[in-house]
């Protein structure tokens, strides 16, 4: 029954003229500035003939830390011409930890090694003539690069570790490699925010086991204890999986300095109100700092347009 109504009203809403809908919205929310209205209108009017990937980032050391132990890589490539355009992007957020300032070594090594190794693997596909398809499955390549970074951190920065959330966008699919408690989200224009990754943290584990409730989890004293980290332990098992790129929405990756400090509403609002991705990232970083900035803050937003 509910579905039926949803369908009914969902369809109805689509029929409303853009201008009318705008009027409706402003009646229920705060009045929009001219700038915002222009942004919304221009978004509605513009058509992108070519499918392309766009991305922006934001980062801040925060208000309470001296060091930035977060590292970030954002690579966006579009190759187009007579052959079909295949969007290619690589986005990595790593949040390092561990004594002797090795945390920043670990996170920096993770983004560079994973990024560098993947680019090497994709070089012949992207730039060779004629282009060469890679036979190795994407998930295996990701796993291999993560393992390389893991071994490097164990060797060069023993005792330290880092979270890694890496998203490889190829065509319409995203392949994610994930360890630790940085997160990837799919953010949709209707306000829905889906967490794509699962934290490898003690608190999440307890929540999954049903030993603590969501509220208890929010106030759990050891929220920052990880049960898996790159650089830690003999056998590292990253979560690696592939899913369709959130077509009408955004792919977002961030460290816990962001998701642990601002809530989903703040994220929604930042993305909805900002005129572009860069502003949206900065607004989120500012919000996390305004809320105390207890930890390093890193965010990446990527969008598929066209």
């Amino acid at each position: 029954m509910a579905d039926f109504f949803k369908k009914l009203f969902g369809k109805k809403e689509q029929k409303v003229e853009p201008a009318k809908r705008l009027a409706n919205e402003s009646a229920t929310t705060a009045p929009l500035s001219d700038l915002q209205i222009n942004a919304i209108l221009s978004n509605q009017n513009s058509r992108y003939e070519m499918k392309q990937l766009v991305a922006a980032v934001g980062q801040s050391v925060g208000k309470q830390r001296e060091h930035n132990e977060d590292s970030l890589l954002a690579l966006t490539t579009t190759l187009s011409g007579n052959a079909e355009s295949v969007p290619f992007g690589l986005y990595i957020v790593a949040d390092g930890m561990g004594g002797h300032q090795f945390g920043e070594v670990a996170s920096n090594a993770a983004v560079r090694i994973i990024g560098g190794s993947l680019m090497k693997k994709f070089h012949s596909y992207l730039f060779n003539l004629p282009t060469q398809n890679i036979q190795d499955p994407l998930q295996e390549m990701m796993a291999q690069c993560v393992r390389e970074a893991h071994e490097y951190v164990q060797r060069e920065a023993p005792g330290s570790g880092t979270t890694v959330t890496a998203a490889l966008v190829l065509g319409q699919q995203v392949t994610i490699a994930h360890i630790g408690d940085s997160r990837a989200y799919a953010v949709f224009p209707d306000g829905r925010i889906d967490a794509i990754t699962r934290d490898h943290s003690l608190v999440k584990r307890l929540e999954e086991l049903g030993h603590i409730s969501k509220d208890e989890a929010a106030n759990f004293p050891h929220r920052n204890v990880l049960i898996r980290a790159l650089g830690q332990g003999e056998d590292l098992e990253a979560d690696i999986f592939t899913l369709p790129f959130p077509q009408t929405g955004y792919l977002m990756i961030c460290s816990d300095g962001l998701w642990g400090v601002i809530d989903e509403k703040d994220i929604q609002r930042a993305i909805a109100e900002a005129p572009n991705l860069q502003r949206a990232c900065q607004i989120m970083v500012d919000a996390a700092n305004a809320a105390g900035g207890p930890d390093n803050i890193t965010v990446v937003l990527a969008q598929m347009i066209g």
């Binding site: 890679i134 499955p137 990880l226």
Partner: protein, 629 residues
Amino acid sequence: METRNIASSDSNSESNSTPRQQIQAGSTLANRYNIQDVIGVGGMGSVYRARDLHFPNVVKLVAVKEMINTAPDPLVRQTIVQNFEREANMLATLNHPAIPRIYDYFTYDDRSYLVLEFVHGKDLETIINDSAGFLPEDQVISWAVQLCDVLAYLHAHKPDPIIFRDMKPSNVMINHNGDVVLVDFGIAKTFQSGQKGTMIGTEGYSPPEQYRGEATPLADVYALGATLHHALTRRDPRLEPPFSFAERPARRINSALSMEVEAVISTALQYNPTERFPSALAMKDALMNVARKTGALSKITSALPAAASGASIKPLWTFKCEDEIRGAPTINQGVLYIGCYDNNLYALDAAEGKFQWKYAADGGIVSRPLVFDGNIAFGSSDKRLHLISQRTGKLVWTYYTEGAVYSSPALSEGHLFFGSDDGDLHAVNVSSGRPIWKHATGAPVHSSPLVLNNLIYFGNEAGMVSAVDFRGAMKWRFQAKRAVTSSPIARGQAIYLASLDSHLYALDASNGWAIWKFRLGKGSLASPCIADDFIFVGAADGFLYCVDIRTAKEIWRFRAENQISGSPSAYKDSLYFGSVDGSMYCLEYRTGRLRWKFETQGAIIGSPVVFDDILYFGSTDHLVYALFA
């Protein structure tokens, strides 16, 4: 504070440009303790072996534990030192054979030292790691009993019980007499200032409530349970998800263990403290009982779960054809359609198996009939695609290819698509039976095409997977190492298929990129099937594999007695498939547990179909079967 073995600590301390300098061997502390060696390194400082120079005529060895006060605030530092001294005083009053004696303590600048009895021996973690197999249960029980004793002693301390807090194999020394000594009291904990930011949890032995800051005698009981679990299974809990002991009972890992000892361990490891042993003494009693029992009674062999046999399963009906059935049935409007090697396509009443009509081709039929708009389309080894009337079984048209047609047709936009041994994918107009185009692949196409998003996906016997558009133009190709007889299936933006090259592949439907591949024991001719987030496929090694569709991780595998050539079918929470061993299997699909199997008199090559709680399939014993699913 965690003590690590010496070998690893040495290499660490060299590569670490740690600001915390270790004391050099040969130097003397407090004019009394001559440092000989580092025997452990922890987060708070090092542990040294030293000689007590107050006994010049004998070599009296002591352990000197160093704790470095890193708190920047002077008031905090002072409090830490006071706590340290208070605890050292308290520990000095303890008198138990399994607790090292405390001789002395002192503080210089930012370093505090505790001088303890030196224990000759090895810690339990080293013993576990150095042993070739599992430690004998009797041996571990005898140590466990001693550990219960010493915990009971600590817990009975007045005025307040002492909680050890850090029971784990590396904190249990086995001395030269083979007795346990508890080392590394939680005293060092006072030196751990509150850490900020992301931390790495390495615990694994501590109970859940300890993370909430509660330390009770029952926390030590849990940690002892975890220690025993580690000692008896060689599975280090620090490498496992926290509190996952219940998911890996000790006997599943070490089947030589007694059920009794497993019961003791699992009671100690209860998540809820009230469900554990009420005290270390109660745990000791339980262990003593185990020792008595296992010593006296011969091992109890576990009764194997009675495998559900198919003997009790009676088919609803069977129908006998004149030759082997190697294809899959289709059910439509209460009628079952199935092709046979006797060249006939049969129409049977699905409820009772009564014959309705048959249509004779000029060759065997293995393709799955496709029913649509009152017609049935199927291929035959007579090189033709046949279209016949669903009601009467009379021919509408046939279409000739240059090779046998084993591929089942797919319908889209008024066209039928199917492969042939002539190496082509054929597109035929449904109403006229006229060819629209052929797409040449260079090798026979047994794989049945999948139509999705205006593309047609199929494999060929040379291992090539092709995606062609509705005009027959190639969109992409993917090359497997051996034949792809398997028919692709889709989920989301990916297609899945198996190959004789022993892999199950996930390919990006829009560009043919391999997303993952999963290694099978042998090649597979069979098409996979999907339910929930699982993908199932059988292979020539006789295994039916269940794989997580997102991550390509194996969930379970089930072994049939011979190869599996047909595609499985998922229905409700069951998975059905046949094997060349002649049986139809029903498994619970989330766990791979066998529900039942049903034996036929011939190999089962084709796939089963479930409709309205009834399972239909054919066998090479010439029979079509209908069973209650």
